[in-house]
Amino acid sequence: GVPLTHHQMQSLTIKVVIDRLIQRNLWPIAARMCDHLCIPEEEGASRVKKHWACWKVAQQDSIHISDEMLAAKIKQKLQDTPGISYADIARKAIECKRPELAYQLLNYETRASQQIRLLIQLQRYNAALEKAVANGDSYTLYDVIADLRDYMPALNFQSLITSNKKALKYYLKYLKYWNRDMLFQMHGQNDDFISQGLCRVEDSFFDITVENKITSLKDAKMDFMRGKGQGEFLQSVTEEQIKLYRCQQSLEDELRSPKSFVGLSIHQTIVKLVCDGQDKKADNVRKEFKVPERKYWFMMTAGLSSKRDWDGLEKFSRSKKSPIGYVPFVEACLKYDQKHEAEKYIHKVPPEERVKPYLMAGDLEKACEQAYVNKNVRELIRVLERCGTANRNVSERIHGYITNLQ
């Protein structure tokens, strides 16, 4: 034993004493001292044991024990002590040029961030990636992926990331914003032609001239052709879009209004043409894209009413029997507060369906009368729901009608 006076200990402080004991590799004594003095484990016993572990690692003559067994032994001794950082011990092992031992020790480390950092240092990329994925912290995962990409040769990185499905998802998402070319390549590697095609489609929206857009889409079409499943549908839709761009370009040229049509949908194009008074051209577009009659009538009402062309609308409504009924005409007029116009169309609606347009126009009296004539209690209730305190007489009338009918 080493005699130590109380005075000496006070001037040195306990921590220093323990440190000195540790330096002299007198761990058992140091540990006992910590116990006796009831020093909290993190400060006392852990430090002692850690120092012992580091020393053990640095020992040259323990090479004949396999690294795995050595790590297990260390773990056994240190098991019950809280606050042990295996990462630090592993770091020491790396310093002593014993990477395998470090790897074994790292398996015991519970803090993932420490583990991963050192695994990368040890060039155990596979393990690092797996641990990062299992950890679940997306920031760490992105960091790890970035690091791996920097440290690993490109081909190895590619195969590693594709083998780990979860990491792949993160990587693709990252590429979407930062490196679209790479994204495209990755999809190609995974034989995901549909995604490739969609990449090109998205890129086409960034192209400025129509010609470039069409080129991108043509390429996309080729990709979709190779894709399974939805490929066929995507192909035909893309084909239509190319046709549409061409059509819109020529419209812009003919009407001398640049940048007004490209980018609109077929529906919006026709409505705009009607709104601009270009009925014939609208009809041409309809023919080219085989727009069903029903939809076309909706487009015409939308276009004519937004132009406030009420005479035109009326003329159109008379052109033949409407495939959409006359309620949409009523709606269009009411949208622009043309109650008078709307009433013209309500008369064209067959009586069984007149309650709804009357309600739309806010004509509660007529609505309730019509519902009574139709002998339809449900419709009467609908009108009743719309009656507020201002329409007491109407609601009373409705109550009367309902009792009559039941």
Binding site: D80, P82, T110, R111, A112, A134, N135, G136, I194, L198, V201, E202, F205, Q230, F233, L234, V237, E240, Q241, L244, G263, L264, S265, I266, H267, Q268, F289, V291, R294, K295, F298, M299, A302, P328, E331, K356, L359, M360, E385, R386
Partner: protein
């Protein structure tokens, strides 16, 4: 993990869904990291008995439906963020404004449970709110008028004045919500909105999967309705929600129908929605016909009640007028009689299910003594269950959670 630090470790954890399983794994991993051995783990007595982790994709139906509670409708029309919403200032009549307020100006309204009135009306079917507010207003008027006549004694007057600030606050609350409720009612009267709800209910209540008369009638009505919505250029969210609902409830749509919808959407709203449609298909909301699971899920979990009358009952069916949210039903079954009874149905829903127990010292467990004859308190402590939706939750579901009758075994 921090929650467990504050409220104590939760002893029982149940979950359903891929993400739920992942969350649990992360949770236990984090716990191991912060306290690798049990000595230093939380010493707080646990205040939560059970935790339920649910993936959003286990119940994709509920978010696709229009919520019909007062709070739910406010969210649908205006959007509630961080318990507050912005409404046009003009709907609130106030004596000093007298119509001078700018119609564009919006006023921020805070919606919280601290406001007694709001906590009463938020989960009710919105059609019940109007009459309720009228009743409350009448009641307040009564209290005011009682003290107008001169026969009130000084003591009574004292009581009245001490209650006055409360009364004024109540009156403010009622008039504010009356204005909001009027706005909500107006929007509900909109015929487009009414038709939308009818169509939703048609999809929900038809006997899907069984090719009988009612289901084919429903499809016959729904498809033209959706097509007309597209032709009239209604909001694309509305259209997408409806077709996804149709697809989910009917275990997928026929190829022809699906392609038609997709084509119509691109022709009307634009090519830019191509990726959206592909993504919807990829995540399973819009699919071709696949396994007919919906009828048995509907039946076993009793998701719909066609005879539900909102005027009579307020329970799990209230939020969506006759539909019980799938997620809430799962929670209900978990507590009584346990998930074992619906094992078959659980297998039909996506994702694994799991049940875990976290060990905690018996001294820290929550006291739920029922038969303990030495117990000082006569009643048992109510069970506390934490339900965590991974992927978001709707106000309708929250309302259903509040209004469900939780029976304990």
């Amino acid at each position: 993990n921090s929650l467990q630090g504050i409220y104590g470790t939760i002893p029982k954890i149940y979950g359903k869904g891929d993400s739920a399983k992942l969350v649990y794994q992360y949770m236990s991993r984090m716990k191991n990291e912060t306290c690798p051995d049990h000595k230093s783990s939380s010493q707080i007595a646990s205040q939560i008995d059970t935790c339920l982790l649910l993936d959003r994709n286990v119940d994709p139906i509920t978010p696709l439906l229009t919520q019909l509670t007062y709070e739910g409708l406010l969210d649908e029309f205006v959007g509630i963020r961080s318990a507050s919403c912005k409404l046009p200032a003009s709907i609130f009549k106030s004596d000093d404004n007298k119509g001078l307020s700018d119609p564009q100006e919006k006023r921020k309204i805070i919606l919280s449970s601290n406001e007694t009135l709001f906590s009463e009306i938020r989960d009710k079917d919105s059609r019940l709110v109007g009459p309720l507010l009228v009743k409350k207003l009448d009641h307040i008027k009564e209290v005011y008028d009682k003290h107008k006549n001169r026969e009130t004694s000084v003591a009574e007057l004292k009581v009245f004045t001490s209650n006055l600030p409360q009364l004024v606050a109540q009156k403010d609350s009622v008039s504010r919500h009356t204005a909001i409720a009027t706005l909500v009612k107006e929007k509900c009267q909109d015929l487009d909105f009414k038709e939308l709800i009818e169509v939703e209910q048609g999809i929900m209540f038809s006997d899907s999967g069984i090719m009988n008369l009612s289901s084919s009638l429903e499809i016959d009505k729904t498809i033209p309705f959706i097509e007309d919505c597209i032709a009239k250029q209604h909001s694309i969210e509305k259209v997408l929600k409806l077709i996804c609902l149709q697809s989910v409830m009917n275990n997928g749509l026929k190829q022809k129908v699906l392609d038609n919808y997709k084509r119509e959407i691109i022709h009307t709203y634009g090519y830019q929605y191509l990726t959206t449609l592909v993504n919807l298909e990829r995540c399973g909301l819009l699919t071709h016909p696949n396994a007919r699971v919906m009828p048995s899920i509907k039946k076993t979990l009793k998701l719909t009640d066609p005879d539900f009358d909102f005027r009579v009952a307020t329970d799990i069916f209230s939020s969506y007028d006759g539909y019980a949210p799938l997620s809430v039903r799962l929670a209900q079954f978990l507590l009584t009689p346990g998930w074992r009874s619906i094992d078959e149905v659980l297998k039909l829903l996506p994702g694994p299910k799991f049940e875990q127990r976290q060990d905690i010292a018996s001294a820290l467990q929550r006291r739920n003594n029922v038969d303990d004859s030495l117990s000082v308190f006569g009643n048992e402590n109510p069970q506390v269950v934490l339900i965590f939706f991974i992927g978001g939750v709707t106000f309708g579901e929250i309302a259903a959670l509040r209004t469900t009758h939780w029976e304990m075994s």
